[in-house]
Amino acid sequence: MKIKICIPTERIHNPIISESIIETGILLNIMVANIDSTYGELIADVKDSRFDKIKNALEARGAIVSILDQPIHRDEEECIECGACISVCPMNVYSFDEDWSLCVDEKKCIQCGMCIKMCPHGALKLGE
């Protein structure tokens, strides 16, 4: 499953991710990582069966962990199927079929929001 790990400002100097991985022995496949001196946000893939354990380890160190279970939503009325979203998506969620209709493979979505900014028609939303 895909999870989001937020690291608040006061914990940013601690090696939270490394400690949690070493402690639990659970592998995290990190797909997106935005970390600077003030805030950190990571998106990672982890086995469903190991989620609780890694969540506890991360949260014991001050991280906030949430499950990404609400993929991108496309408003089919607003969408004109131009395909602007295709090239900015890091996970290849979007593609054209042979009729040049836009296909959305929601399962791949990591809710990074890149496509939302790209869509000229405001047809893409998260959290609905």
């Binding site: 131009c82 395909g83 090239s87 000229p120």
Partner: protein, 500 residues
């Protein structure tokens, strides 16, 4: 030799015997029947495109109020329109943005809202005259309340368009959409095989007076578009059509993040096949239409060409740049372009749309000129300091401190033995080194990722970069990374001080 007239073709449209195909279908027909056979067989080829066309707008007439007003300034849902016309005429530009909602809502959105039957707030002001005493007006209108609501689009249906990419290290938000760093993606626009002007590149049948499909209604070409550049294959069209007859299926407002509002227009143009030349022209394929991929990281009018590309490559989903497969995004909708070509085909087939010859041909040579500028743009080399202090990367921190102190100059350009810029060192870096008790070579404490600029860059661009990255100075270097000078925020303030 095949020779048909528009009159003959229209007779066939009238009696239902017309043979009409889309420009996509025509490719295969010419392949099978040859040019002559296709010219005999096919009477009309329909084209279509559906993309962002910023240079669009609505000419409207509100009718007279009681007491009457000669509108000087007018706003529709807080989007300003131009009303320097007769009393109650106004022109609402698609790309004008809302004074309250910003780029999320613009003239294009007002136009779409009108078309969808929504009520629009109108606010207008004037200075008052004997014949038009009223000074302020507020009302709410729908499309039905307007006497005329005519789209007059100065530049639509580009023959083709340059594709966009980004060599820089940050995301660029442009009218070509979001461009990812390090050639992360390529965006493009245009319908390729279905593009109207690409199917009649000598403008034999598309010209002033040609009847077209525009936003779901019948419209007209009223001349070449602005910036018409036929010599380089970038022809454009000026179009007119009645908004009241259009459909929101083929007219959509849009907003590009960090750029602004625009209008997606659906345009279709039928090409009567009068001769073999037109049959051959309408067999154009995606792979026959070439364009350039430009680097939008360069904030200049003349953007470097990264490579040439054709529409087949663009539409394949990826193009190669520097040996890497870069994903592409279309900003125009091919699916809708095809829908328009098919809809127009249907109209012609069922006698609802007749083809026409232009009353005047479009100019088929020439190019748009750049702007004449009478005020010289100051360049970096005009304001930079020629005096700068360099230090070798293997010198000591103490040497550096001494140089700063002796020259009372806060930025040291760190250079290699061959004189190339490799870093920058400031008094701040030295304080930090002292505080942390690091007394190695200059190399270990300098900033390695140095922002630089070129001597011929406009100062405005350098200032924008200083501001964006929050630094106070940048070395000016040549193409060999030799330091020519340094530009500081001081240089720029002095320039402004001279100006005012």
């Amino acid at each position: 030799m095949v020779k048909k007239s528009v009159h003959e073709i229209n007779k066939k449209i009238e009696d239902g015997s017309v043979n009409v195909v889309t420009a996509e279908e025509m490719v295969g027909i010419v392949e099978n029947l040859g040019v002559e056979g296709a010219a005999k067989e096919v009477d009309v080829v329909t084209t279509g495109t559906f993309g962002a066309m910023c240079s669009s707008g609505l000419m409207l007439n509100l009718g007279h109020s009681e007491p009457p007003i000669k509108i000087q300034k007018a706003w529709f849902n807080n989007v300003e329109a131009y009303s320097g016309l007769a009393a109650v005429d106004a022109y609402l530009g698609a790309a004008q943005i809302s004074e309250t909602r910003g780029i999320q809502y613009g003239g294009a959105h007002v136009i779409e809202d009108l078309l969808r039957g929504k009520e629009i707030n109108v606010h207008a002001t004037s200075y008052g005259t004997d014949c038009y005493p009223r000074k302020v007006l507020d009302t709410r209108i729908t499309l039905d309340d307007l006497n005329e609501a005519v789209l007059i689009n100065p530049r639509n249906a580009y023959q083709k368009y340059n594709a966009a990419t980004n060599s820089s290290k940050r995301i660029l938000n442009t009218y070509m959409g979001e461009l990812l760093p390090n050639f992360g993606n390529v965006t493009y626009s245009g319908a390729g095989v279905l593009s109207p002007l690409s199917n009649d590149p000598s403008y034999e049948t598309i010209g002033t007076g040609t009847r077209i499909f525009m936003g779901g209604a019948q419209g007209y070409v009223i001349g070449n578009g602005t910036q018409h550049s036929p010599s380089s294959g970038f022809g454009t069209l000026m179009l007119k059509g009645n908004l009241k007859e259009m459909s929101p299926e083929y007219l959509r407002a849009a907003s590009f993040t960090g750029y602004g509002a625009t209008l997606y227009m659906g345009i279709g143009i039928p090409i009567p096949i009068l001769n073999e030349k037109l049959a051959a022209a309408t067999a154009v394929r995606d792979e026959d239409i070439n364009t350039s991929v430009l680097d939008y990281a360069v904030g200049s009018r003349d953007k470097p060409v990264i490579r040439q590309v054709n529409y087949a490559e663009l539409r394949s989903g990826s193009v190669q740049i520097e040996g890497k497969d870069v994903p592409t995004s279309s900003l125009s909708s091919f699916k809708n372009a095809r829908k328009i070509a098919n809809e127009l085909k249907d109209w012609v087939k069922h006698g609802k749309f007749f083809v026409s010859m232009p009353v005047e041909r479009l100019c088929s040579e020439g190019s748009a000129k750049p702007m004449k500028q009478t005020q010289a743009v100051p360049l970096v080399k005009d304001v930079m300091s020629d005096f700068f202090v360099t230090i070798k990367k293997d010198q000591t921190v103490q040497d550096a401190a001494k140089k700063i102190w002796e020259n009372s100059f806060n930025h040291l350009a760190v250079v290699s033995d061959t004189g190339e810029l490799v870093g920058i060192l400031t008094a701040w870096d030295i304080s930090k080194a002292v505080a942390e008790n690091i007394f190695d070579s200059v190399e270990s404490i300098m900033t390695k990722k140095v922002l630089t600029c070129a001597p011929n860059e406009p100062v405005d661009l350098a200032a924008r970069r200083l501001d964006r990255y929050g630094v106070s100075a940048m070395p000016v270097i040549d193409t060999q990374r030799k330091v020519l000078g340094i530009i500081t925020s001081d240089n720029i303030s002095k320039l402004l001080a001279r100006r005012y």
